[in-house]
Subunit: 249 residues, 2 copies
DNA sequence: TAAAATCTCGCAAAATATCGCAAAAACCTG
DNA sequence: CAGGTTTTTGCGATATTTTGCGAGATTTTA
């Protein structure tokens, strides 16, 4: 069997079934796995397939385009993300909402971290999926196209069944008197459920949102254990929250 | 044997078998391999064949077996997508699996269509989300990073609760004797549940997958109502399926 | 964490290709 | 037809390509 012939067959098979195993191909064509590997590499270098451990995948199947959101307050958010990530330990179950701050955190997860992330936010899920060691649990229900998150009774019921170690909330507004507040009824329901199902609740927010308020209350301040902003914990803006008994990072 | 004669024979043989080996030809015509090589070079320079190490391949070989980056099968898939879309009416509840064929269908949905799509496939969900009038129900569970789809008991239980009008299955392998078959246990479970929960089951598949088989059976052929390929319904390859009582589009 | 599978790397054998050359064959041309 | 020219062919020496193998690194799996 000619080399080109072999490669054509491999390509044909990848396009048909979206994946091939080196071992199977080696068997089928009676050549060593080394040869197959070399073929796969050449095809991969030519951009026709994607080489992976044990075989190869089709190009088209991997095209999951994911939204790279605007660079609004990006550096602030990555400061927040770093602090948030430090709270996550191996083996934890982590509930997360959606929002750009959460996304930034998702991108900052260290590769060796092994944990389970639970979310209904599509953009967040896409980020978690790219991580090598993270298990991803998707909370299903109807998708709100607006917020790209699953909302509804099913989702809430499912979250209530959970017992997570940690809950990260991207925060829309927070102040001393009303706690955290939102302007979307569905999201409020979800976040309430998330708070109830977690041992520890962490609010992520950029300092602009401190001391602001929105129409619907999610929970009082005292339900929150930790508040993370891009500011130093000693910053005077944060003093009221520290005084209220919240851990501030 | 004359040079021209030799070359004509070589060309004939290439077109017949799609490949020739220098060693074989040298043997057959009792000339040195150098001579054969020179012949092959000339034919290749004239664009009649493609010279490769060890022999030569036919032109058509390159075109047919070497689809440059999926354009070739992409057309097939969009033909399939068009046919599939025509089955969806306003107000329907539609269950779909994952796979590139399903993705192509998702991209082909007409903007004014109002329907509800249910799936656990992340790439498919992303497509549905872009559509202005479609409601999207996401089936939640643990995500299989490999197939980018939610798999597990929760997902299956949720699907069992549904009563969909239509179920579109991207098909891995189908033949008369074993019906539709797969090689991934989790996906098999999901598809079985989907079939049970739908009034009508539609299989989408490119013709290459007809009459092929994989290790695990999803269901027998008779459970399928409609089969869609890129071929004309009258194509002889489809006759056995028509005879088996399946509607073929 | 340990075993199993897979990968990488360098090497060596085998197959194939290239090059220059020269003999043989074919082909002019007067 | 003789003598010269061109084409074709095979051969030897030397590259290049392809392939399989073993050892050790890396990744996956249980």
């Amino acid at each position: 069997m000619l080399k080109k012939e072999r490669q054509a067959y491999i390509l044909h098979k990848v396009n048909l079934h979206n994946k091939v195993l080196s071992s199977t191909l080696s068997d089928e064509m009676k050549v060593s796995e080394d040869t197959i590997r070399r073929d796969l590499h050449e095809l991969a270098d030519a951009g026709k397939i994607i080489k992976v451990h044990g075989g190869a995948l089709s190009q088209s199947f991997n095209e999951v385009h994911f939204p790279s959101n605007g660079v609004y307050s990006q550096n602030k958010k990555s400061v927040i993300a770093q602090k948030a990530v430090s709270l996550i330990k191996n083996g934890m179950f982590v509930l997360t909402s959606g929002g750009t701050t959460i996304l930034e955190m998702a991108r900052s997860l260290p590769p060796q971290l092994k944990a389970t992330f639970i979310s209904g936010s599509i953009p967040a899920i896409l980020e978690y999926m790219h991580h090598p060691n993270i298990e991803v649990i998707l909370v299903g229900d109807k998708i709100s196209k607006n917020s790209k998150i699953t909302v509804g009774i099913e989702a809430i019921a499912k979250i209530r069944q959970m017992q997570a170690d940690l809950c990260f909330l991207g925060t829309y507004a927070i102040n001393l008197k009303h706690g955290i507040t939102e302007n979307d009824w569905d999201i409020v329901q979800l976040k309430r459920a998330m708070i109830e199902s977690s041992k520890k609740v962490v609010c992520l927010t950029i300092s602009e949102k401190l001391d602001t308020v929105q129409p619907i209350q999610i929970c009082e301040l005292k339900k929150i254990h930790t508040l993370i902003t891009e500011l130093e914990p000693t910053d005077p803006k944060l003093k009221p929250y520290v005084d209220a008994g919240i851990e501030v990072l």
